[in-house]
């Protein structure tokens, strides 16, 4: 049943021109970021080699461009997730799902997986781009896969937050703004802690801080758990909300 809901969400989303405009914009922006970083790397690599700081192309260009891509996703994902449930509520089609033999959690998971499928398209294209470097050199595949995992975890977290907020309103625009705001706020939690080193409570709230090990090639299970737990919490909250605040399982 979750699969059916996910397929419906996916096919509905990729039929809207919005998704294709976002795909195109994302691809263009990522290409620009990627080639800019590559150009910077090309110009500075002789000095880095001379200073003994040279660790290859993967960290500055690949991990660097993925880091910047997460900030672009912060703006793009809310536009994709805004309609998943808010639009159903606004158009009164949510009734169809609520009167069907599925639990609110099924609905939320179906929507989440569907929209993850949509975001996977531009992410797959972005993931392919670094592979072209193989034409003129080699890649640190461990670092590349780690950075890719970080990117996917961030996308998952953004989608879960987006679906959660979309469940709470009948206005897609409001859902988009609120999602971007929450993600931005969660990122800023990282900023404050940079000034007050040792304040780990706020740090715990920042997705950007959790991603840092991945950009350095460390697959952090703690950070991985952070993303999975926060995403599940957001989805459970969405299901609870859909059910009028009366439990998510039925």
């Amino acid at each position: 049943m979750i699969g059916l809901l996910a397929r419906q969400e996916f096919s509905n989303a990729i039929r809207s021109p919005l998704a294709w405009v976002l795909f195109a914009a994302l691809q263009l922006i990522f290409a620009f970021i990627f080639f800019s970083l590559l150009e910077v790397f090309r110009q500075t690599s002789p000095q880095l080699v001379a200073a003994g700081l040279m660790h290859g192309v993967t960290e500055p260009v690949v991990a660097g461009s993925f880091t910047l891509l997460t900030f672009v996703l912060l703006l793009v994902v809310p536009l994709l997730t805004m309609r998943v449930l808010a639009e159903e509520r606004r158009d009164r089609t949510l009734v169809l799902l609520l009167s069907a033999p599925v639990t609110p959690l099924d609905i939320v998971l179906g929507k989440f997986l569907g929209i993850m499928g949509v975001i996977a398209i531009p992410l797959a294209l972005a993931a392919l781009m670094p592979l072209m470097l193989l034409a003129g050199g080699s890649l640190d595949f461990g670092l590349y896969l780690c950075a890719l995992a970080g990117l996917l975890l961030a996308a998952m977290f953004f989608c879960a937050v987006g679906v959660c907020i979309s469940a709470m309103t009948a206005s897609p625009a409001l859902a988009a703004v609120a999602t971007a705001f929450v993600l931005l706020l969660s990122w800023l939690a990282n900023w404050r802690t940079m000034e007050n080193a040792g304040d780990s409570t706020l740090e715990l709230l920042s997705w950007a801080r959790q991603l840092e090990p991945f950009w350095q090639g460390l697959f952090s299970t703690a950070a991985c758990a952070w993303f999975i737990i926060t995403s599940l919490l957001a989805l459970a909250l969405a299901a609870w909300w859909l059910n009028g605040g009366r439990g998510a399982m039925r």
């Binding site: 059916l4 809901l5 509905n12 039929r15 809207s16 009164r92 009167s99 009028g244 039925r250």
Partner: protein, 309 residues
């Protein structure tokens, strides 16, 4: 009432501090059509949404085909087909795609999707528009798609919230025919504020006003409810002496609601006794008119109580 397919007991729901539905109970058996009447804002749609598991009630108990809706929602919801006030259709899907999704969503096994979509499209007159996008269809056709999704899985209970709103007379007729066809093996609940709709399709009627049931009774198929208008004012006692009249009440001066002994009562004989009594007979007709008066008096009473409270 041996074959009750849906029963609700003591449904209550608050919206904030306002009580939207107050202690509503009803039961519908297989082969029966219940009409839910009431002025706008009476709580009809809210009641139907609770019956279909869309809104959980604050208090009360709902049983559908033997399953408790709150304890075993999956099994219970499998037995419900619901057409809300606004048909819950996805504009950017074709009719066939949408109905296929609904077949799966309502729990039909995949092997039966195709056949169910074909049969339901045929039944609702949608075969010719299967490949059209729903948003490009007329209101009438969108309504038909809405009805199709409610019956595609052959549910025990079909709940229709104002199914004929916005349809032209021909389409209204088609919906009535469809209801007549469905009633044989389903229990049907129909909400409307068109009284003619109720007398055309329903066996029983429940009138809601301000969230409470203000009237609940049978509308005999042949009609034991008749409406009488006289030009002479007479006592109810005099009316009740006439053979064949079981009960009578005054709706307004000169207008009486009459309940006959049975649906086979000779109404022509009653008319001649009225005339032979020397009362000026202005009108003597079945159903409708009396239902309208019943509706107005039942809801007016409730309004008065509301104001007094």
């Amino acid at each position: 009432m041996t074959d009750t397919l849906i029963s609700a007991d003591g449904l209550t729901l608050h919206y904030g501090r306002r009580i939207a539905v107050d202690n509503v109970s009803l039961a519908v058996a297989k082969g029966e059509v219940l009409g839910l009447l009431g002025p706008n804002g009476a709580g009809k749609s809210t009641t139907l949404q609770m019956l279909c598991g869309v809104l959980p009630p604050d208090r009360g108990h709902i049983e559908i085909a033997g399953f408790d809706l709150l304890r075993a929602p999956r099994q219970a919801k499998r037995q419900i087909g619901f057409l809300p006030e606004i048909p819950p259709v996805y504009g950017n899907a074709t009719v066939t795609e949408y109905l296929t999704f609904c077949a799966g969503l309502r729990g039909l096994p995949r092997a039966r999707w195709r056949e169910a979509v074909g049969a339901t499209s045929e039944r609702c007159g949608l075969s010719a528009v299967g490949q059209r996008l729903i948003r490009n269809l007329s209101k009438g056709f969108q309504q038909r798609v809405g009805i199709a999704q409610a019956i595609i899985h052959e549910p025990a209970v079909v709940v229709l919230d104002e199914p004929t709103v916005g349809l032209d007379p021909g389409q209204v007729r088609a919906v009535r025919d469809l209801i007549a066809e469905l009633r044989s093996d389903h229990a049907i609940i129909l909400s409307t504020h068109i009284l003619g709709e109720v007398s055309a399709s329903c066996d029983r009627v429940t009138i809601l006003c301000a969230g409470r049931i203000v009237y609940s009774g049978v509308l005999g198929a042949g009609g034991t409810r008749w409406s009488l208008r006289l030009g002479t004012a007479i006592d109810l006692a005099q009316l009740l002496k006439i053979h064949g009249i079981a009960d009578a009440s005054i709706l307004e001066p000169g207008h009486y609601a009459i309940t006959l002994d049975s649906a086979d009562t000779d109404t022509a004989a009653i008319a001649s006794s009225i005339i032979s009594n020397g009362w000026r007979l202005l009108a003597w007709q079945p159903g409708d008119d009396a239902l309208e008066q019943l509706f107005l008096s039942a809801t007016a009473d409730a309004d008065a109580q509301e104001r007094a409270a």
